[in-house]
Symmetry: D2
Subunit: 136 residues, 4 copies
């Protein structure tokens, strides 16, 4: 069966930090959410609209839904590549985010849905769409 | 439309800690995974099989899948009640975990699927099933 | 040799959360800073000036110095009592913060020096001193 | 007055991650302990004795004392250089660890004292001293 490869538009190498490891010797499940957020924010910065800049503009991207499949565990001393694809559905920005160990072993597949809030109100996300236009 | 209430078997009151709040004044999305883990582990302890005890026995419950709907945000100084329901499907233990603000506002609905690993190998989860038998 | 007991003015019981444990099976050194901050903030709230309220008022208590002696380690499943004493020296609020395991074993002794910033400027800390007056 | 420059033996550039920022817009005080640990562990790895390797050997470096002066705050989007010097006094390894913002502004000066535990017992630290011999 042929599988269509995801068209990733951004990749970030990340090294596991020892304090992210739990007593079982593996990265704690919550820390992957940090890796995913870090990847999205680095992508936004590269796209020209950093999280700091959004904060100044009064824009707050907010996670509305996360679907995360944990496939293999990362261990102490290991490195990963965190990859990202993006599509927009109305006000929702849907990030396909997959993490691979440095040697290619799949670690995690996630779909993260974000919306953009401005002054406490949901926006159509046009400021983000403008920043991301070459990727959408 | 009638909605069947989830039959929660465990509830844990948790107060937001100020360091869990991010620059937007809301709890960072990754911290909810901590709240959910805390709730499962406190439930396990109440059921008579603490995480510490599992670790001594060489058992490691591992999260395989997380589906999280973020409905509303918790803010600085707020408190929540974290509620849990449980069912077993073969080797998988499926936790329905919902978080409500102290006043009842729904904050988050999650489905967390765990398996039990022993010496690196997937188990049928009989040790957990035995501990949880009055809840399954 | 007689030792003068510290005159604690606030005590907070805290249970170790499993995700705070590292691969060595002990609480990671950084997490104690979280316990100490939690204790100070709960004390402030009891004194009538919560951190949330300070934030609304534009006041930000900032840690300027921390001296921490790690005596024994807390392990998975353990509980602690976090105790606090307070004195003021000019603009500085000096918290003596000691943590004991539930059975009384000393875990950590810390001296945390805070100042209060308002609109980016160091203040004399009068708003805090007013809130803490019955303890100073 | 002439100030002797610290003879740093290791430097690590680190970028602030947005989730390390608190509601005041600055890095939370506990996260600096993470930066300092990360720096020590990266130094150990460069010296040829990674934390993962120590764990396999049954060696656990443990923080016994931390003295931390917080000078300036790091903000969202900022980068730092974390610098390290090392000396040994008997069983104690004393790390002088200073953090500077990318433009040179001093952020934090810390002295972290570690010992090495093996099978729960304090060691003389000879395994670490051997690994660090060209730096001591």
């Amino acid at each position: 069966m042929a599988t269509k490869e995801t068209d990733y538009i951004f990749e970030l190498p990340i090294k596991v930090r020892d304090y992210e490891i739990d007593v079982e010797g593996i990265v704690n499940n919550a820390n992957y959410l940090h890796y995913l957020e870090l990847t999205r924010h680095e992508f936004c910065e590269q796209a020209g609209l950093s999280f700091a800049r959004m904060h100044e503009m009064g824009l707050a991207p907010v996670v509305r839904h996360a679907d995360i499949e944990y496939i293999n565990s990362l261990r102490i001393g290991e490195s990963m590549v965190s990859k990202l694809a993006l599509c927009r559905k109305g006000a929702r920005f849907i990030f396909q985010q997959d993490i691979y160990r440095a040697d290619g072993l799949p670690i995690l597949k996630a779909t993260i849905t974000c919306v953009c809030v401005e002054g406490g109100r949901l926006t159509r996300g046009d400021a983000l769409a403008e920043a991301f236009k070459e990727y959408l």
